[in-house]
Amino acid sequence: MSAVAHDDAHHEQHPYWIKRWLFTTNHKDIGTLYLWLSLLMFFIGGIMALIVRTELFQPGLQFVDPQFFLSMTTMHALVMIFGVIMPGFVGLANWLIPMMIGAPDMALPRMNNWSFWILPFAFAMLLSTLFMDGGAPAAGWTMYAPLVLQTGAAFPFLVFSIHFMGLSSILGAINIIATILNMRAPGMTLMKMPLFVWTWLITAYLLIAVMPVLAGAVTMLLTDKYFGTSFFNAAGGGDPVLFQHVFWFFGHPEVYILILPSFGVISSIVPTFARKPLFGYASMVYATASIAFLSFIVWSHHMFTVGMPLAGLLFFMFATMLIAVPTGVKVFNWVATMWRGSLTFETPMLFAIAFIVLFTIGGFSGLMLAIVPADFQYQDTYFVVAHFHYVLVPGSIFALMAAVYYWLPKWTGHMYNERLGKWHFWLTTIFVNLTFFPMHFVGLAGMPRRIPDYALQFTEYNMIETIGAFGFGLSQLLFVYIVVQTIRGGEKATAQVWDGARGLEWTLPSPPPYHSFTTAPEVK
């Protein structure tokens, strides 16, 4: 590949095999790597979830020992959050942002390569803990001190792999911000940017703001365990609750890092299949910014039961409830976009509509959890598990799937099999609800989370959940089949792909050239 790509003759050149994938500076290649990593980790994390569900099929201890059960819940969360949803959306950002803003590539292409190539090493380190003395980390993905300090040989590997993933996220986010702020085509003002670009701009800001805080938190864990510091040791003047504060100062913006790009995806898909422009573009932008701002002042709602002063409880309760306002604006706008639209229901649209309905359920249960006296009852029950799985699975994961169906024809130049896509959608949606909806009931009835055994009266619902989980997992094999089939061939996709699609990425041929826009398009 030429050092300076000045003329069109060089655009389709790319080196092959190892040189292409290991040394690449191309946003599409790197995006592809991210998406494959995300898919692979989705199955690894999924197997962990199925081990958890298998144990919970019946009360009593039958398949795994409790320590391993807790390793599975911990590793499932770490893998799904850091290995599936985050890389999945960074993959989309890599593929789409340069095409959406009319740029040839990302702003810092070599750093982009490093952001990706950190991840396989970080996850190799994290997953290697499964084979270590004392087992994989089992104190929950939240790593609360002092429990997590009892982790065996896995402990420093856990801390360092989180440092490494954090580095990857920070570098990736810096790159995305630099791209959006610096690489837009002439005429592409901020308020003309597609909403996916806006949501990623704000997500990247959140990432840079909070990933270093997580790095700080796990560093304090490391020094408490090995170097005699007392950050989380009350006998030395510290406080175990301090860890929870630092962790959730990262953790709450983190959950918006996981969901904001989904909002961008849904805001791209709904107008296309409603054949109407997005309702309330500006309010969408302001709502996203408000959610990001609020995410910094609500973290303690994750720890209402630790014994905070009343003023703290009230502040964090009301601040949390405020988030419902901008989120409500978004849901309203999506519905208003569909209102009197000329709707069709291709697979991306089906996933998008399911997202709106099911994410809203997750939002409502979040509102319930925000109420302090109610939360005292819900804390550490399956109701919490139901809540965050509703926002993460039919939320973030559905948005990722919608995005793949929506842009896969653009990426590969082939249409996916619509019939199989619909099968995949319905199987996924039915099984996802079968898995997670009953968790609300057992949770309200008092079933605690992170315990491999439960009282007899919860048996039926748990059996249903396990059946749902296996159904959901198996349905995703169909997804892999559809994606591979589309890459290998199929009906040729036009540049426009969807007749209602608007935006610069649809002006490029399908598949797009190796360097997206060699001359910047004029945006009016």
């Binding site: 030429s2 050092a3 300076v4 790509a5 292409r20 040394f23 500076t25 191309n26 702003a107 810092l108 292409p109 070599r110 750093m111 390569n113 490093w114 190539w117 396989p120 090493f121 380190m125 040989a153 402990f155 420093p156 590997f157 360092f160 490494f164 920070i170 986010a173 810096i174 790159n175 630099a178 610096n182 085509a185 005429g187 592409m188 003002t189 703001a209 909070v210 270093p212 805080v213 790095a215 700080g216 304090m220 090995y226 170097f227 005699g228 510091t229 007392s230 950050f231 009350a234 006998a235 030395g236 003047g237 510290g238 406080d239 301090l242 504060h245 100062f249 014994g307 905070m308 910047a520």
Partner: protein, 292 residues
């Protein structure tokens, strides 16, 4: 607003093997460090090998970028991308320090008074440590007096001198920048040498202070929450000053070699920004760790 003028020729750097070498290097360091912490002495060797690989990556990668920059193939757009990259990198560093400052404020405002029986801490005190008096910093190694009795570092000795040194170094690096912009190379080089000298002086004084703390004050990393926050904050800051001094040295060598023009010298500016950031963090440390 978008920038039309620079987009007639776009620039994409060619592929590079440095990122993957960086991943291998840092991962090797981490695995080595983790096995060492787990009690295997061989981990140190692995850690060293990883550090060497990582250093070679840093040299190789920056070397490539410097060569490309000097050959003039970077356009204005690349320059702006580097600027945004550096700005946001420094912001991430600010947030990293924020975590440790947050721990310090939390300990001083909440956890210590609670251990002393204030507010929500009544029961904790009554059942676990009756009679514990929370005083910052006198009893700030906690009710168990972890690390034993200690004395705190006096703010108006070495720390005040160090504040003066770092503030002066901020001035000298700006003076060097003026020299660069006016194409007065001697002023540039002298300014950089002064800045580096002040940086090294700062680090040496900091090291003296640590020796004093460990040997005469019994103030160690293990002195409860006081020692934890004191050494983690000043330690990470010292690490950043060291890094900044190394970066300044690279800039000095490049200046001697005739790199940079009055118009194009982002490498210099990035390091100067970093140096000012380290300076500002120190002011926070001086006020909240040493003085108040």
């Amino acid at each position: 607003m978008a920038h039309a003028q620079s987009q007639e020729h776009y620039y994409i750097p060619h592929g590079s093997h440095w990122p993957i070498i960086g991943s291998i290097g840092v991962a090797t360091m981490m695995v080595g460090g983790a096995t060492w912490l787990n009690g295997a002495e061989q981990g140190r060797i692995v850690l060293m090998i990883g550090a060497i690989i990582t250093l070679s990556m840093v040299f190789g990668w920056f070397g490539t970028v410097i060569r490309e920059s000097e050959s003039g193939i970077y356009n204005d757009q690349v320059d702006r991308s580097f600027r945004w990259g550096m700005v946001w990198f420094i912001f991430s560093e600010v947030m990293f320090f924020g975590a440790f400052f947050g721990a310090l404020y939390y300990a001083r405002i909440w956890s210590m008074p609670w251990l002393g029986g204030e507010g929500a801490g009544v029961a904790t005190q009554f059942f676990l440590w009756p009679g514990f008096e929370a005083m910052w910093p006198q009893t700030a190694n906690g009710p168990a007096q972890i690390g034993g009795e200690f004395k705190v570092m006096e703010a108006w000795g070495i720390p005040a001198i160090n504040t003066l040194i770092l503030l002066s170094s901020g001035a000298t690096v700006t003076w060097a920048h003026w020299g660069l912009k006016a194409n007065k190379r001697a002023q540039l080089i002298l300014g950089l040498i002064l800045t580096i000298a002040l940086g090294v002086l700062f680090i040496s004084l900091q090291a003296t202070e640590y020796v004093h703390a460990y040997h005469e004050l019994n103030l160690t990393l293990e002195s409860g929450i006081y020692g934890s926050t004191f050494f983690m904050l000043t330690g990470f800051h010292g690490l950043h000053v060291t890094l900044g001094a190394i970066m300044l040295t690279v800039i000095l060598l490049r200046s001697i070699l005739g790199h940079f023009t009055p118009e194009h010298h982002f490498g210099f500016e990035a390091v100067a920004w970093y140096w000012h950031f380290v300076d500002v963090v120190w002011l926070g440390l001086f006020i909240f760790v040493y003085w108040l």
